[in-house]
Structures are given as C-alpha cells and as structure tokens.
Symmetry: D2
Subunit: 296 residues, 4 copies
C-alpha cells in the first residue's frame, strides 16, 4: 500500500516522525509537509467524532477512520488500537481487519478496560503483564505479512508504577513478540524517556523505541533520536491547531457578521480543491447543458 | 433530536446562520460559538475524506458523516445531498435515511450527475426542471414528520443560464413541494442574490431563501437578511481555517524539530477533553491498579 | 417508526411472538407471516457475519444490522445488546444509538465480558448484580422517548446459580428501572420458566416476562402465555432453517452439476422481486435504449 | 487473501463454479460444499437488505458486504459491481476499494444508470459501448496487483439488441482491457450462450467466458464447460432456498404455536456454532463466576 514500509523505515536508522492525524485531509497535509509516517490516534479520532477518548468508539469505527487515512496518502500508517478492544479473540480479529486494510502497524497499550486517556489523571489502570503478553502474541500469530508491526505501548510511567516495572514489562513484551516498544511519559522533560532507553538497553532490550513528546515538547527530534528513540509521535498537535483556528473563524463571523476578516487567514477554496487533486478528475462523463426552453 | 427545530427557526423571522461543519468536533465548536444551525456540506465532508467534491463519496458515506454531526450537538442539521445521489427511488431512500437519523433538512441541487463543485469552472450542467421537480416531490412524499424540510438549491446562476431561468425554476420547485430555496451565486457581491430575492418575490415565490456567502463575503448577515435572505450558510470557512492552522503546525515542527513554538498557539489537550465533555464520564467501572509483584 | 409500539403491545395482554431475524429479508418474511415483533439477535447476526457469538462483532456492527432490520419492516424491533458492550459510558452511547435509529427495545444480559453464547457450556460468568443494575439505570437515564424499553435478561439459570439468585436479581433490576425481564433457560421443558414466573410474582415482581423457547420447544405460545410469559422469542430458528436449505441446494448442485432438481423447492426470482416490492419502483428515470450503430 | 487466486483458477482450464452468496454464512457453506469461487451478487445482497436490485444500495454498502464475504472464507470472491456505480472517477475509487479489500475480481455490466435487474422486463438500457470501454480501462489503470480481474458483463442478449451487438461489444471490451467476458442470457436453454461462445471465438475473442445459468438451469457444468464457458455463476439459488426454508419454519410456528415440528428439519444450534468455528475461541480471558452472596 505504501511506497516504503514502516518496518523498512524503522530499520533504516533514521528518525521516524509520525504525525497524529484524524482524517484524510490532515493525513494529506502531513504527507505534503514531508513527514515519514502517520499516527491514526485514539484521542484525535475520538475528538473528531465529538466523544471522549475513553473506549467510547468501537474498534470498527476506529478501523474505518484508519482506513480513510490509509486511502488518502502513501505514508505508513500506525494505528492506535487502545488496549486491543477486548479479549484475545477480539485482538485476533482486530489484527486481521487492520492488516488486511493496509495499515502498517498497530500500537496496543497495556491498560485495562475501560481505559482513560493517558493525560487524564483518573483511571490509569494497568493490565496484568502476562495477560497483555498474550494479546501481543495473538497479534503476531494472526498477521499474515512480514511487514506488519506490533508496537507495545508501556503505560507504567503514566500509571506511576515505576521504571523497574516499565523495563520488566518491555522485556516480557519483547519475548511475546512485540516489534517495537512505545514508552509513554507525561513529564515536562525527556529525562524519564532517556532513563528508560538506557535501562532497557542495559537490560537487553533490542527493539526500536517510540515516544510521544506531547508534554516534553522542548525535546527535539534530533535530541530524542540521540537518546535512542527511533519514532517520535506528534499525536495531537494538528487537531489542537485546528480547534484554535476554527474558534477564531467562528468568533470573527459572530462578531462582524461576515467572514471577510478571516479570508486572508484561511486557505482558499482553490487550495482545498488542490489538496485533494480535483484537477485529476476525468470530466469526460459530464454532459452538455440542458436548455430550459421547454419551460418558457 | 434538536432543542428547536429548523422549521420553527426559519419561520421565526430571525436570520439563521448555518455553519458548515465536517465532523463532530467542528459541529461542537459551532454550537459553542452560538450559531443557530449546522450545514453538513459536501465540500467539507469530501475534503475531510481526502477526495474531490464530485460525487465521489456515496450517499451512505455522506449520511454517516451527517449522523456524526447530528449526534454531537443539539443544533438543527441541514444536510447537503448533492443532486440526490440517483433517481427518484434513490431519493426516496435517501430521504428516509436522513430523516430517520434526525437530520432536519436535506438540500438538493438541480445539477446533473456527475456533479462538480459549484466553485469549479467545469462541469456545471443543470438537471431538467421537471425531472428535478419529481425528485423534490419524492422527498416530500417520503418524509414522515412535519418538521423535516426540503431545500431546493438553484444552480442557474452558477451554470450561467440567467436570472429568468432561476426564477422560473424556483416557482416550479415551490409547486413541487420545496420548503425553501437556496439560491447559489459565485459573484463577488450580493447583487445577484438581491436581484433574485426581489424578482422571485415579485413572481409570487413565498418560500424562505437561503444563500451561501462564500465569494460575496463582504455582505453581512444583517445585510443579507435585509435583502430577504432567511438562512446564510457559511459552508467551508471552518475547514479552510483548519487547513491553514495544520499547515502552520507542521511547518514549525518540520523547521524546528519540536512543537514548542506551536504550544502557545494551539488548544491544550485539556481543552480537547473539555470540548467533548470528558469530565462527564462515569468512572465507576474503572478497576483498581494491578500490582506487578508477580513479575519480580 | 413502527405501526404499533412494543410497549403498547406488551401492555395489551396478548402474547407477543418475536421472531429472531438476521437481515432485512428474514425480517420481511417474519412480518408477512403475521408475527408481532422482531428479535435482532446476537447469535443470528454473528452467524450471518461468519463469526462466533462471543462479543466478536462490535456494538456499531450489531447496531447497523439492527437498523437494516428496522428499515425493512414496520414491526417493533427488540435488539439483543449482549452485556451492553462496555462500561456505563458505552451503555449510554449504545442506548442513544439504538433509540435514535428507531429500535423499540434493547435487551441486555447480566453476563461479564467476554460473554459466551448461553447455549455453550463454557464461559457463563455473571456480572455483579449492582454493577449490572447501574447499566440498567444508564439505559433508562439516557433514553429520550417513553416508548423505548429496557429488557433485562437474567442468566442465573444458564450459569447454574439457582432460582433464588434469579428472583433476587429480577427484583433488583426492576428497582433499577428495567421495563421487562427476560428469563433465560436451557432446560428441555418450560418447568424452570414456570417456576420463575411464579416465584418472582410472589416476590412482588410486576414486570412483563420474556422467554426464549429454543430448548423447550415443545411448549406452545399459548402454554407459555398461560404461565405468565408475555413475550416469546424464537431467536434462531430462521437462520437454522436457512442453513439446511442452502446445504441442500449446494449438495444437489455439486452432485448433479445443475440446479434443476432444486428449482421446484426454492423460491423463484420473481418471488424475491415481490418480497422487496420491486414493482413499486418508479421507472420514470430509466432512459431509452441506445443503438449501437455507431460501432458497425 | 485467497489460497489460490481467481486468475490462476481461470487459466487452469478447469470449470470454475462460483456460488452466489449474500453474507458470511452462505459463503462458509459454499466453501464447505467444495465450490471453487464465490459471487457477491447484487440481487442476493440487495434482497438480503430488503431492497430491490435497482441501484438502491450504494457502492460502499455493496463493498462492505463483499468484504464480509471475503473475511469468511479463503475462496476467490467475484464482486458484482453493477454498472460501476457512477462515472469513471467513481469506477476508479470502486476498483481501489474492492482490490485493497482483497476481492479477486469485479464484474461490471454495460447497462445505463439507473439499472434494473436483468430478469426484470422493464428498464434494460445499454450503455454506449465506448463509454463502457472507458470504464473498463479505468479499472485496469487503477488496479495495483496483477491478480485482480475485470470481468465485463454483456447485456446485449438481455436487452434484445442481438448477437452481433454482443460479439462486437465483447471485442471492444477485450481491447479496452477486460480480463474475461460474462455473457448474460435469460433463455430457457443454453443455445444463445453456445452461439455467443462460438461466434465470439470465430471473431477472435480469446478471453475466458462466464455465464449465469439461472434460466437455463438444465445445462450442466460439464455441458457449459464443453461449450467453452470457463465460469458458471449460480447467482441466486442459495438465497432463494433460504426464503422457502424460512417461510416453512414461520408457517409451522404460526400454525402450531411452537417450533417442534421444525426441529428435525433445521440445523441445530451446535451446527451454527461449528460453522463459525466457535470451538476455536480462546477462553482464557473468561473470568471466574461471581457469587451473589452480597445480595442475600
């Protein structure tokens, strides 16, 4: 489906910047801006639907939106699949549905159902490690193509159970077959991430690492890469930017009764057409105008 | 479904500002900003999917997105249904699907399949008036609730066939049962719209009028209302604003390797949570943390 | 949506025979045969999808199929919603999605996730009563129309925890707001059902009762009604019948290399047309034949 | 997706029997009965939805049901795509959606929109040959894998425009890139089909032929194969058989007030479980029973 698979990208040694997108349009913009991969994230997609990121949308709703994103670009797509949406039987079906739709990777987190967004204080309850390892194995046993990746997302630092727990889980998840580890942190600096990278390496973890620099946004791609992070997921900035922009347009319209003031600040209709390749349409089937003489 | 139906709003004599939205989030923002109605528009929804506005998405895809919008707010929702997506049998099913999902109105345009976006130069081919009138009647015969509205969208001025054609069609569509007329224009001023309002009134048209001030954005809600326009549809400004904002976030990330510079300009994660009422979640089912002692 | 609501039917004192259907066609057949209601059941719909009845399909997949059934007839539709598909937040959304689509009732069972079909030996684990009562309340607090019903399905007899547990739960569920109780049994006679009807009445339960005479199929509608059962759900017989018929057609084709032997035993193509009202199509838009002279 | 691709099967020289199926269950039955391929047909799927076969369902609805069928078996799936659901732009998207979902072939017919089922008298209007050839080319230019096939369905004999038209169109469609020709006939014998096979071969057509022996059901697979037909599509017999069986079950229930008389004639619940491999479920996540002591 993609010009260059995620697995190849991840093995190449370069930093992989995955932009969180929530629909086809945001995916197109991320590709045009030169990024390497896309993150079909639960927070973005849930918010776009107007519902909280708390296991409210179903697996097939998330999958459908990941597929929309898949169809819109040629970049690798990593799908956020929460905690797998159910037991191992559901995880098997989930794997099959995502893989057969051309998604490059699923990223599953080790939290219990019902999960809560990691940036929310309440509700951060971890899954039992062995139970989660069985879900990882279920993904790996189900997939049919070599390129498809299973990224295990560690929530130990989010749940406050400590670095040792995180490292131990990472090793267990690797043994269960995970292709990469996403280590999540909500600290304001990348120190915790750096520590995890170092300690897990010392403990023998050889998998590529992913991180989500939402709260530690001062760390650059280069700095994170130097710490040993292969993939950086910019999970929610696009949708956050779009909220502010839409609020501004709405305020201006409400205040002035027209959109003239916004006109210089927003993309033109022509730009919308171009983003979705409107000029590539074949107009051969468009018919000739019908005169209305019969009416007069 | 809605706190106050569209029909009631339209009859009340006040100006009805309908904001074009493309997903649940944009719908929530428009409601919070105090607008009266929502426009589930073909250009916005197609662009969000990453495809041209040219009859590419199917009726059920458009309907599903209109339903997402419906679920996200209590405002009346007007659904753009292109030229009805097919023959009168399809129009009947379309009416039934939209009405039963709580959509307040469908707005159907008198263009032939395959349609092209009205702001595009090519491909503006009108439907035969009598054929279109039959589709209007099909909507009215199919609907089951009184509140549901059929808005007939006139493309005569877009297709360049003149004001007389527009007025004649408006009268025909009114006789066929239309509840309102949307008169579309791509001029830079509202003059054409004003003329239509005047001439159609003189010719005996008694239906409420809608307009889409995309190109004549200097005309205010108050001015258009004074001309006799009841509903103003701000069809595409939100998605256009979001494009510019997302491009800016992406450029900053590409240039600086981090999102710090964007942080002050984009909504916080907390604001996303609040927009979708995350705090209203019932957390009673969230379980207690599971210790990981068994691993050590 | 329906000619006569389920609540009205249930209060009328007559026996309500609900036929388990899995798609629009089976729904149409049940309506034509004169039955009073439809059961959009988990086993039927899962089997039609080709997956086990074990929480594999998502809520939105089940809802979509219930909606297909809803659209195909004017009979009341009772939707089987397993254990509610998640926590109370999911139950709220579920209620809203089913009710707004015109479904007349949801039937939720007091089993823990991941559930297993009640006729399977393994995996019959009950939900804690108070936890389930909260889900019942969540349905009742969410619904917006009076007619919508919440049927609480008791699995105590299936799980083998005894009659006292069943009665106690029934009273608790009634206090939580349930509009009816479905008492499930897999005995070969209706004795267990009769006992429950008697004891729960003695204990003060005043709700209408539903039963599923799959294993105790010798009991007639009249006999069950005399025991105090209002609704009889014939959950899976249609799909079971269709399996046998399709196997026979396939075998004959495989054996004889043609379908001639089946022709007298299967509905004609014309009958298919009639079942879905093909003659009611408006053919006015069908164009005149195009000659192919230009090719010769 | 499939164990053995359709293209390979078609080239192998053996007769390919494709069974028309309308959901996952019928697909599973056809595979278990030893057939070579599946036909995701418009009549079957429309009827299962409860709507006429007249372009009522949208492309994405048909595609979704073809995908359900795809997921349920390992047989090649040929999807009936009516006349392509729109202009060449829609045909391109259609191709992409079906191919990326693992469908092996699309079969597109040369009728004008709005189409009518070929066994219906009214409404058989052919598409202009060159226009249809452009749609064929659009499929071929869009597909990304070699195995995907485009089957062009000829309706000349259905529309009554003669054998010469059929042969001429077949040659044109072959030049446009079709991988196979489906020649449709509603005669009671296979004579017309035999003539087409002979004349088109004499005229130089070298593509594999498909036929639909619905009305000429006395012709066997072996006889049709001897005439030069590679693929025989048994398009609607399964759903027709299921109608008769369901009607019988319903009548017996209505007459006797119970399903006892049907019990010996319909599949058991256990057979349903087995058809969808219920025993392959991993029950490791099913929890232990919860005592209800707290209530007593």
């Amino acid at each position: 489906m993609t010009d260059r698979g995620l697995r190849e990208l991840v093995s190449s040694g370069t930093a992989v910047r995955a932009v969180g997108v929530h629909d086809g349009l945001s995916a197109i913009l991320a590709e045009k801006a030169g990024f390497e991969a896309l993150w079909a994230g639960g927070l973005g997609i849930s918010t776009a639907h107007g519902v909280p990121d708390a296991g409210i949308l179903t697996m097939t709703e998330f999958q459908q939106d990941a597929v929309r994103i898949r169809r819109s670009t040629s970049l690798p797509v990593i799908a956020d699949v929460d905690a797998g949406f159910g037991d191992v039987n559901v995880v098997r079906r989930m794997t099959s549905l995502y893989e057969s739709a051309g998604i490059d990777a699923v990223c599953m987190e080790d939290k219990q159902y019902p999960k809560r967004n990691s940036f929310r204080d309440a509700g951060q309850v971890l899954e039992e490690p062995e139970q989660f390892a069985r879900k990882i194995s279920a993904v790996k046993e189900t997939q049919r193509t070599d390129g498809f990746m299973m990224i295990a997302r560690l929530e130990s630092l989010i749940a406050g159970v400590g670095m040792a727990d995180a490292v131990e889980r990472a090793l267990l998840y690797a043994r269960a077959g995970a292709d990469a580890i996403l280590i999540h942190s909500k600290r304001n600096t990348s120190e915790e991430i750096a520590q995890f990278a170092e300690r897990s390496r010392e403990a023998g973890l050889a998998l590529p690492l992913f991180a989500v620099p939402t709260t530690y946004h001062t760390a650059t791609v280069q700095q994170l890469h130097a710490l040993g992070i292969t993939g950086m997921i910019y999970a929610n900035q696009l949708i956050r930017g779009s909220v502010t922009a839409m609020e501004k347009v709405l305020r201006s319209l409400a205040d002035t009764g027209r959109t003239s003031a916004s006109e210089q600040e927003i993309a033109s209709v022509k730009e919308l057409f171009d983003l979705v390749d409107t000029d590539s349409l074949d107009d051969s089937a468009v018919r000739q105008p019908v005169a209305v003489a019969s009416l007069s």
